[in-house]
């Protein structure tokens, strides 16, 4: 690989440096290419796509595919566009993220600062639940949601995402709070501060970084979820299920430009969150879960 150099890890020969930069740029192009293709082709009229080059920029720019994807494309049987499903996703994701994060913070606080016999077994069970393949709960969940009258509704999806999100949020907060000095909590107890007071006054003010991680993680996972959405969404399908409907519809001409506009619409919220706060996410995640 770097035969030209012998001195240091950071001091490399010119040839090696060119090689490294070249490789890094090639990979950057690899990661960017699909986004470019989607964006460029979502702004072309369909005639330019079917006869043309996917890598070419539009000759006649148009935002019509975007309008169509948003408000008039055929999703399933209704020509509603993706708009109502986008709204479903928002209505689902906001409460689900908030509730699972609050529970995660409280659980993490209990599991690190109010420890009791057997708490690590409970945590182990909770942790394992993060990684189960959801196929194992699909059948009973469908039955329970039906019995509760929550099948095919946004509240049903919120419940599902809260239940299966708590494991991860608890994991994040537990690892984060474990590093917080327990002496401070003890001192506050001796001063007579109670459970919630300590949480509110001591733990919460330092919880910013891990809350960013938890919120981004939950937001991305729940927004991007497809399996639960398509299984239990019914009349209230989220954006991912609707996008899949749009793209897979077998009737009529395949409107690739509309598909791409729809795909970007589905990706936009998580991309925005990532652009705004991604840096904090990686930083916080690394502090919390991977010991370097």
């Amino acid at each position: 690989m770097s035969a030209a150099t012998q001195e240091t890890a950071v001091r490399t020969g010119a040839v090696t440096r060119v090689f490294i930069y070249g490789l890094l740029i090639v990979f950057a192009l690899f990661y960017l290419m699909p986004l470019f293709v989607m964006l460029a082709n979502s702004l072309k009229p369909l005639s330019e796509i079917t006869g043309g080059n996917m890598m070419a920029l539009p000759q006649a720019w148009t935002i019509e595919p975007w309008q169509k994807a948003w408000s008039s494309a055929q999703i399933g049987v209704e020509p509603t566009g993706l708009r109502p499903y986008f709204l479903n996703s928002i209505l689902m994701v906001v409460p689900a993220v908030a509730i699972s994060t609050i529970f995660g913070a409280l659980n993490g606080y209990v599991l690190t600062k109010w420890r009791f016999r057997g708490d690590s077994i409970l945590f182990g069970l909770l942790l394992f639940s993060c990684f189960i393949p959801f196929q194992i709960v699909l059948i009973p969940m469908a039955m329970i949601l039906g019995k509760l009258g929550l099948a095919g509704s946004v509240p049903g999806l919120v419940m599902v995402h809260v239940v299966y999100g708590i494991g991860f949020t608890t994991l994040y907060y537990r690892n984060y709070y474990a590093a917080f000095p327990t002496e401070l909590v003890r001192a506050a107890m001796i001063d007579g501060a109670g459970f919630f007071r300590i949480f509110w006054r001591i733990m919460l003010p330092v919880s910013g970084p891990i809350t960013v991680v938890s919120v981004i993680w939950q937001f991305t996972n729940i927004w991007n979820d497809f399996l639960f959405g398509v299984s239990f969404g019914g009349q209230s399908q989220p954006m991912t299920a609707a996008l899949n409907n749009l793209v897979q519809s077998s009737t009529g001409v395949k409107e690739y430009n509309v598909h791409f506009a729809g795909a970007i619409l589905a990706a936009l919220p998580t991309l925005l969150v990532y652009i705004v706060a991604g840096r904090y996410f990686v930083r916080g995640l690394m502090a919390g879960s991977v010991k370097g």
Binding site: M1, S2, Q6, T8, A9, V10, T12, L23, L24, A28, P34, V37, I49, T50, N53, M54, M55, F103, L106, V110, S120, L122, G124, L126, L127, F128, S129, F131, I132, P133, F134, Q135, I136, L138, I139, P140, V163, I166, F195, T220, N224, F226, L227, T240, L243, N244, V247, Y256, H259, A263, A266, A267, T270, L271, Y274, G278, V282, M286, V290, G292
Partner: protein, 298 residues
Amino acid sequence: MAHGVPAADFRTRLQDWIPKLVLSPSLAAMLVFVYGFIGFTVYLSFTDSKMLPSYDWVGLENYSKLWGLSHWWTAITNLGIFAALYIVLCTGIGLALAIFLDQKIRGEGLLRPVYLYPMALSFIVTGTAWKWILDPGIGLENTMHLWGWESFHFDWIKNRDFAIYTVVIAAVWQTSGFVMAMFLAGLRGIDNEILKAAQIDGASNWKLYRRIVIPMLRPAFLSSFVILSHLAVKSYDLIIALTGGGPGRATELPATFMYSYTFTRNSMGIGAASAVIMLMTIAAIMTPYLYAELKEKS
């Protein structure tokens, strides 16, 4: 003062209970929705459930039927190919990018988000994009022809023998940047003094990385292996969006198998049995890892 003491006692006792009360809704939810449901699905896998759950015990019949189905063997074989390539490629690319990015690269702040953004996308979006790029008629092959490379041929997504590899391409595109971030964090955590000492001893770059740096990245290797392998077993969305399991059944995975047997082919018992096998696969990977992780921390 005299009646202040019992009040304090009551308060202390209450304080003892509050943490457990706070934890209890989550634990109850976990016991019902995770472990209760697992138990129920395991039970169903021993019954003759068809379109609806039935409670007639049939023993291991569903499992013997399952392992007799060529459809299931296709799914299992595909999972083997997919998981192996996905894990190896993501780890290899992630590690290489992290090491190269760690060489005081100008523009690192620009490159890192470019490598990472795919992980913010839904697999449905990734599948939609790659389905098109890989389509020989309008995608990459067509582009190469238009650019003058007439003999360029790339129709894997339409080819039964190669379609599973297109799933690997799209999945690696989505996740390798995330693995890069894990390795980069590991690299940044290594003490520079160790590296300097090794350099003074005259170790070459290659040797330095192979003998010292990469072994020190063990925790990052382990975490990424666990994350990638459980993602591989759970892969469902990407298959649905990219190939729909086809051409034919060429890209079926256990997750798509389970869904179609349970909900569209009216063989809930067999579907449940396949879900149990998926769970056992993940448990075999996760349990030792979680055990070690918890033991170390407590």
